[in-house]
């Protein structure tokens, strides 16, 4: 069977690629398009390391077939910074050292950005529930939650 020809928009840029049905969006992002910021942790939608947005919706790229995103807008961690200017979440995560090994960080930034676009003043509980599908085995989460709160405050006063 021939491959699927997919036309999509990734981080605002039109992108076309060929894929097999069995390839996930994560496979294509990483292996075909060189967008390796999204990580593969579990491959079963449990860890959130591959969090991306499709049509604005936060999803696990490992649980989306690449063929499904034909005609869709996709946003990955690579589209979060504006050129050389980091997003407030990225800057605060660096300033506050809200990461250790860093594998979960791209997914957490993408997920937290989606939260802050809905709610620029989330409570600690709202942040913890929203990020419950983003596992971090290093930090114990406290620094992550505080960094999201601080980024929200930076964005509110911007």
């Amino acid at each position: 069977m021939s491959k699927h020809h997919i036309s999509t928009t990734i981080n605002g840029e039109p992108v076309e690629f060929l894929c097999d049905t069995a390839q996930t969006l994560l496979d294509v992002l990483r292996d075909e398009l060189g967008l390796t910021g999204s990580k593969e942790g579990c491959g079963s939608g449990d860890c959130g390391a591959c969090s991306v947005r499709v049509e604005g919706r936060l999803v696990c790229a490992c649980l989306v077939l690449a063929a499904e995103v034909d005609g869709c807008e996709v946003e990955t961690i690579e589209g979060v910074a504006q050129g050389n200017v980091l997003h407030p979440l990225q800057q605060v995560f660096l300033d506050e050292a809200a990461l250790q090994c860093g594998i979960c960080t791209p997914g957490i930034i993408v997920a937290a950005k989606a939260l802050l676009e809905k709610n620029l003043d989330p409570t600690e509980e709202e942040i913890r529930f929203w990020l419950a599908g983003n596992l971090c085995r290093c930090t114990g989460y406290d620094k992550i939650v505080r960094a999201v709160q601080k980024a929200a405050s930076v964005m509110r006063s911007a």
Partner: protein, 288 residues
């Protein structure tokens, strides 16, 4: 080689699901299906993605209630203020499935047809009296949700059939529903016990109708008619709740595993039924 098709009409999907025989599978949110395919638990020769069919993505008011496309995501349900106001228990149950990321894709149709005994939205849909439209090679039929799942991983859908949408009826003017589940964590887990209660009061505050459904305590979610009957005609007082909880426990036939023994699951089903009934009662009173 795995085929992938994305039909834009129900009729086109019905044709595609019959070829290649026999193993084309329906793809909605994929949060169960893609995991099963990857693990090798499920073999499929083709995938038919239903998300480009407008009917399966629509969520609209109808007959005083709501018609919800089978592929509408949990996130979309949670953002629908009017649906949440009328059927809070159904929306809460659907929103308990997985993480924020899973909610971006997971659907009521998928939660039902994956046929897990522990599916959160299914007891809530049953208690609400929801019906679903099933389309297939021999046309369309409408059935109560409780008739779809026949056992773990098994449904009453014939080959080539799929769920198009759900019809949630109008909630009674003094009606309320609630869903509670037990999990050993606070998030991201699968129900050890789930209970949904939907009840209606008259002007004097007496219960005129009640539907209770349990999940994860039998091979399928179950409507417990005796539990509903035990509340009807009462003020949903302690005695009535005790009788209802006993009826719920009598309907349990759970598995025994490390997540919950038979005794534990049975006991907790009664406890959650009592708590959910109190929440449903408060909601019914607040609607007046």
């Amino acid at each position: 080689m795995l085929t992938y098709n994305k039909p834009t009409t129900v009729d086109e999907a019905i044709v595609l699901l019959q070829q290649p025989q026999p193993a084309a599978r329906v793809l909605a949110g994929g949060t169960d299906l893609l995991v099963q395919l990857r693990s090798g638990r499920l073999a499929a020769q083709g995938l038919v993605d239903l998300k480009r069919i407008p009917e399966l993505r629509a969520l609209r008011a109808e007959q005083g209630g709501f018609r919800i496309g089978a592929a509408v995501s949990g996130a979309e349900l949670g953002e629908h203020a009017a649906l949440k106001a009328m059927w809070p228990g159904v929306v809460e149950a659907a929103n308990l499935i997985g993480s924020t990321q899973i909610q971006g894709r997971a659907s009521l149709g998928g939660n039902l047809c994956n046929a897990s005994p522990a599916a959160d939205s299914v007891p809530a849909l049953i208690a609400a009296g929801a019906r679903c439209t099933i389309a297939g090679p021999s046309g369309r039929r409408e059935v109560p949700v409780e008739t779809v799942v026949t056992g773990p991983g098994k449904t009453s859908l014939a080959p080539g059939e799929f769920v198009v949408d759900f019809l949630l009826p109008a909630q009674a003017p003094r009606g309320g529903d609630a869903y509670l589940r037990f999990i050993p964590r606070t998030e991201m887990d699968i129900a050890v016990v789930g209970v949904s209660v939907n009840l209606t009061l008259d002007d004097a505050g007496l219960c005129t109708a009640a539907r209770l459904a349990v999940g994860a305590v039998a091979p399928t979610a179950r409507l417990v008619e005796a539990a509903g009957t035990s509340l009807v005609g009462t003020a949903v007082d302690e005695a009535a709740l005790a009788a209802m909880m006993a009826a719920v426990r009598a309907a349990c036939a759970p598995i025994n595993d490390k997540r919950g023994t038979i005794e534990f699951r049975t006991h907790v089903a009664g406890v959650l039924a009592g708590r959910a009934a109190r929440i449903a009662l408060d909601r019914a009173r607040m609607r007046t």
